[in-house]
């Protein structure tokens, strides 16, 4: 049996309700949707005037079902994309941050996958959160992991492809990287903060580092990966990601190493990048 059979009644029918549009002063479909959106996003507008109440449920209650779903779906999306921030702030703290973000950056994309794209920037700029700069940096790490997860597939080169580069081509050799790769600089201990969530351990106290560090994020074999870079690798990887060629890379390395060491260092970095699945093509 269907539950509540005894309460069932026939729904509205055209012959019963003809002319009802007149009651609503001709509010158009677009105006109705605008009013509903206004209510969901800013809790104002006049949508309640256009909703029927029943004995069981008032129009306010019915509208609140949608308002709650709107907020919670977006909060949950941020929670999934920024698990370390959620872990650090706890349920209530994270929900408050998320609700503030939702008001400032309502979704403008058909897919929820892009909703968190401004979260790091928001945490950096908002007056309530910029006093905790590690939040913005941690959010940047987590967002780059999301980006790497969804990045386009491209084929990768092997060490043998490097061996086939003609000697005369090396000076103008340009490296093409996998679309998942991102480098970013940070000043706070965000790596142990992120790892605390991964390992479900008590997060360390946020602390400022002695000097700025660089993190590389990428995807290899469908795994999203990260590692911190030594200063020399951070220097040259930043350059070649911007389009610098192999001779530029060697020139950068020459500021850190002796002429004897530069070629070997450059070759070693190139080999490690190829083996880590960072390079998709070579051109010269």
């Amino acid at each position: 049996m269907i539950q509540h059979d005894s309460k069932l009644s026939t729904g509205p029918k055209s012959q019963d309700l003809g002319g009802k549009n007149l009651v609503n002063n001709g509010l158009s479909l677009s105006e109705l949707q605008s009013q509903f959106k206004q209510y969901l996003m800013f809790q104002n507008g006049r949508i309640d005037e256009h909703i029927d109440s029943t004995e069981e449920l008032s129009n306010d209650f019915r509208l609140a079902i949608y308002a709650n779903a709107y907020c919670m779906r977006l909060v949950e999306t941020l929670q999934k994309d920024f698990p370390a921030i959620f872990y650090l702030l706890g349920d209530d703290g994270f929900t408050q941050v998320a609700l503030d973000y939702i008001k400032k950056h309502p979704s403008q994309h058909p897919s929820l996958r892009f909703f968190g794209q401004y979260f790091s920037e928001f945490l950096h700029q908002d007056t309530d959160y910029r006093a905790m700069p590690y939040l913005s940096e941690l959010a940047q790490l987590e967002w780059l992991l999301v980006e790497a997860f969804n990045a386009k597939d491209v084929s990768l080169i092997q060490e043998s492809d490097v061996a086939n580069v003609p000697p005369e081509a090396w000076s103008t050799l340009v490296l093409h990287f996998h679309p998942s790769i991102h480098c970013f600089q940070y000043r706070w201990n965000i790596i142990p903060l992120w790892q605390a969530e991964q390992n479900q351990q008590t997060p360390p106290q946020p602390e400022k580092l002695d000097s700025e560090e660089t993190c590389l994020v990428w995807r290899q074999n469908f795994m999203t990966l990260y590692r911190t870079l030594e200063p020399d690798e951070a220097l040259v990887l930043g350059d070649v990601l911007e389009g610098a060629d192999f001779s530029d890379m060697c020139a950068s390395l020459s500021t850190l190493f002796s002429p004897d060491e530069v070629a070997m260092k450059a070759a070693g970095l190139l080999k490690s990048w190829v083996n880590a699945g960072l390079i998709s093509d070579l051109s010269w």
Binding site: M1, I2, Q3, K7, L8, S9, T10, G11, P12, K13, S14, L17, G18, G19, K20, N21, V23, N24, L27, S28, L29, S30, L32, Q33, S34, F36, K37, M41, H50, I51, D52, T54, E56, L57, F61, R62, L63, I65, Y66, A69, Y70, R73, L74, P106, S107, Q108, H109, P110, S111, L112, R113, F149, N150, A151, K152, D153, V154, P179, R219, F222
Partner: protein, 294 residues
């Protein structure tokens, strides 16, 4: 004995599940007895990576249909042609048996609400939606299915029932129907109507797919949460629906609080068992393979 009206002209895939990331490995490793999978289109409109890898690997072994949540066919912003282009690109890659979305609006003024918002049931909305459906079908080069949504509000603008509105839209747009049995149940509880009155009014020859799902019952209202097993009341409604429509491809939706895969398989077997007991076995063909769907 109840006379069964068979919907012979529609393709029939049997009994399917939603393809969700929690089950990728299980599906590829154990090749479960699922006739087909439904994907959430937006989850695969990405550049690459794990989702697309698993989708294509599973597509090699199973029929797939595409189900979207962001078409906003009832929206009043212009149709999002970037979204439609991505949808078409995905369809060309996946080669789904069909493409569906919801009879609703999901955004306004450039903002996306990520919810299936109900439309007022009136002539303006019928004309508006039907015109947009035709535009989408022309662009995609195929008919689409529209699904009825669960709703929690009734607009004072409405001048007809949901089923009259739904029927008028699909007739005027010449599209197909994805009938969500759970959504009919949920809305019937929230708006106090008889779900069988809805079922009996739907044009049989336009129904190509059923959805079954769980919901959360708060006593005086019901929320369509897709995070619980299908309740007895919805199974009972499914039993009453089958004689009306005959064999319709049926899919079980689960989107949250994901259970072990074996629990979804039990629900799938329950749907199969109900189908067999109500309708008897069904011979069907797809991809050149003859099978028995129940």
């Amino acid at each position: 004995m109840t006379e069964i009206t068979h919907n012979q002209q529609r393709p029939y895939l049997g009994f399917g599940l939603g393809l969700r990331p929690d089950y990728y490995d299980e599906i590829l490793t154990h090749h479960p007895n699922v006739d087909w999978f439904e994907i959430l289109s937006e989850n695969y409109m990405v550049g690459g990576g794990k989702p697309l890898y698993y989708l294509h690997a599973i597509r090699e072994k199973y029929p797939v249909v595409m189900h979207g949540v962001s078409l906003s066919i009832g929206g009043t912003d212009p149709l999002d042609m970037d979204y439609l282009k991505q949808l078409k690109t995905l369809a060309q890659s996946v080669n789904p048996h069909w493409i569906s979305d919801h009879l609703c609006w999901t955004g306004q003024g450039g903002n996306n609400l990520h919810d299936l918002m109900p439309l007022p049931y009136n002539d303006e909305a019928i004309k508006h939606v039907a015109q947009r459906v035709r535009q989408v079908q022309d662009y995609l080069g195929q008919q689409i299915l529209l699904e009825n949504v669960s709703s929690y509000v009734s607009y004072r603008h409405s001048v007809m029932s949901e089923w009259e509105f739904y029927t008028a839209v699909v007739e005027e747009a010449d599209c197909l129907m994805l009938l969500d049995i759970n959504n009919i149940y949920v809305s019937s509880r929230n708006h106090n109507f008889d779900p069988m009155e809805y079922i009996n009014a739907v044009p049989i020859d336009r129904v190509q797919q059923f959805h079954l799902a769980g919901h959360t019952d708060y006593g005086n209202y019901v929320i369509d949460t897709h995070d619980h097993p299908i309740v007895d009341s919805v199974w009972e409604l499914y039993k009453k629906v089958l004689p009306v429509f005959g064999h319709i491809s049926t899919m079980i939706e689960r989107d949250d609080l994901m259970p072990p895969f074996s629990e979804l398989m039990q629900e799938l077997e329950q749907a199969r068992s109900i189908g067999e007991s109500v309708l008897g076995p069904h011979q069907y063909h797809f991809n050149g393979i003859q099978g028995k769907a129940v």
